[in-house]
Symmetry: C2
Subunit: 291 residues, 2 copies
DNA sequence: CGAAATTCCTATGACGTCATATTAGTGAAA
DNA sequence: TTTCACTAATATGACGTCATAGGAATTTCG
């Protein structure tokens, strides 16, 4: 026998949702159905595709191999569905959005949501490395990623250019400076985003070039937390201009050695890029950043 | 209800084979099955997809729209099938090949057939315009086309470079020349390929640039016929070097004004390009032309 | 010449087979 | 207990086949 849609679609949803039950809910069928489909697919392939663990499922190597195909099938299926409904309503749907910085992602989401209030948006903020990976693995639909990797099977559109700056409170020692250099940071407490972030990579590279080290370094998970920390007077933070909403009372100062320009990109797997929902999201992103 | 792959696959096969019965034979099901699937699809779409005529079927505008999707689904389906079978046997299959010149197509087909004798090859020679169109419309799987158009959804690989030359019999008035110019051709009978061919386009453009006209012009459908005509002493023919097997006793002479280089390309729709059969054909093409 | 037969298509209805999804029930882990 | 994955039994419906009908060219033959 040959595998059919149902099996691949069930498999794909399980991978993306991370569990059989969640996939079943999303698909609007019982969990039993999903189990049967995935089992059948595994039987046809002749090996396990998923590792079932208490905390969710993960892909086996074979599973990873098949997931690419399965997801392309799902994308095509959605596209066919859209065409059948005559491109009519976008009154339903889900979109998994991933970003490595709150801005401009949240702004884009706001615009998009304004236009399509009934589309459920699933936003996740994570570090640069993970963000790239989630798109590559097709777990997320679209990404807004700084300096996203380039790949043949990705659609990648540059949205805006930005560079690293120092953020501090207006009563900070460096607050009155027009520009600062790395050497000015040595005796300051510096806050950086978590491991895996592009910021960490860039900063560490710069420091390595100059054979310097920041003695007072704090890393934090997300940008809003960093902002809050700066506001509390914990220190000064380095991150991309425009990557988070900046509270009043904070100042941003260019850093002499971080003149390199970085690009915020819209990315999506090419097979998915034809989908109406994703097209609209891209349109919203372009509308925001080029206004 | 939602349409499923059976319906799309049936539809796609009907389009490519040009009839319900032929599609049924190819699919290994009864004609009744194919009819039912296509009807169901039409019912779901809400309009006719095919115009049934005595001499075959043709696409309605809506049908054309859906055929793109249907064919991508078929390609994906094949790819999944290949993956499941572990890329094992290529002992069956069909490949529609289109070209605007016998060479190097026939040579490539010979190589390919040597390696995969059980793959049925369906070769069609046609003019440049039609060849491009057949690939664009996904009626053919692969093409070997001179200066094929570039498109986002095509895979396009340059195989070899060539240029226009004059072919004539060794007793022809120009046979002893090392090189000829357009002016030398004015008082000769010149044979060109049919309307729509790249040769016609190029030659007419050159003539228009110089505001000249060839007084004694004959056009013929295919390259082998042109060769035969030259051999019979009908006149001299202009066509791409290496585009047909040249009989002994014919000489080829460069033309001064036709120095522009043309590229013979391998082309295939990108969705199909991942298929094993098509990969192997491309490999055969590259093996021939870069040996 | 022209009507009937032939041939090549596609369409339809009835029917058996198999696949799909549901409900219900089991066991395991948190 | 609750959550989750798997399994068994079952109803529904889809798929494919056969037999058959109808339409439109082509051929046959009086």
């Amino acid at each position: 026998m040959r595998p059919n849609h149902h099996q691949f679609i069930a498999f794909s949803y399980v991978v993306r949702e991370g569990s059989f039950s969640a996939a079943a809910r999303r698909l609007g069928v019982t969990q039993s159905t999903v189990t049967q489909h995935v089992s059948k697919l595994e039987e046809l392939v002749g090996s396990e595709l998923l590792l079932r663990r208490r905390d969710g499922v993960s892909l086996t190597p074979t599973g990873r191999d098949f997931f690419g195909l399965a997801d392309r099938l799902v994308a095509l299926d959605c596209e066919i569905g859209e065409r059948l409904r005559g491109y009519s309503s976008l009154n339903e749907g889900r979109l998994k959005v991933i970003a490595n910085a709150p801005q401009p992602a949240l702004q884009v989401i706001a615009t998009f949501n304004d236009r399509f209030p009934n589309v459920h948006i699933d936003f996740r903020l994570c570090d640069w490395t993970t963000a790239n990976q989630l798109i590559r693995d097709r777990v997320a639909d679209v990404g807004l990623i700084t300096d996203a990797s380039e790949r043949d099977d990705w659609e990648r559109v540059v949205l805006q250019e930005t560079r690293y700056v120092l953020y501090c409170r207006s009563d900070h020692a460096l607050a009155d400076r027009d520009i600062v250099g790395i050497e000015d940071l040595m005796d300051q407490t510096i806050i950086l985003p978590e491991q895996g972030s592009l910021t960490q990579q860039v900063v560490h590279q710069k420091l390595a070039e100059r054979q310097m080290e920041l003695p007072q370094l704090i890393t934090m998970t997300t940008f809003p937390v960093m902002c809050e920390a700066v506001r509390q007077g914990l220190g000064a933070a380095i991150f991309l201009k425009n990557s988070s909403h900046i509270y009043d009372g904070l100042v941003e100062i260019p850093i002499r050695d971080f003149h390199q320009i970085h690009q915020t990109c819209f990315v999506a797997p090419k097979d998915r890029a034809r989908l109406k929902l994703i097209n609209e999201f891209r349109a919203a992103a372009l509308a925001i950043t080029f206004q």
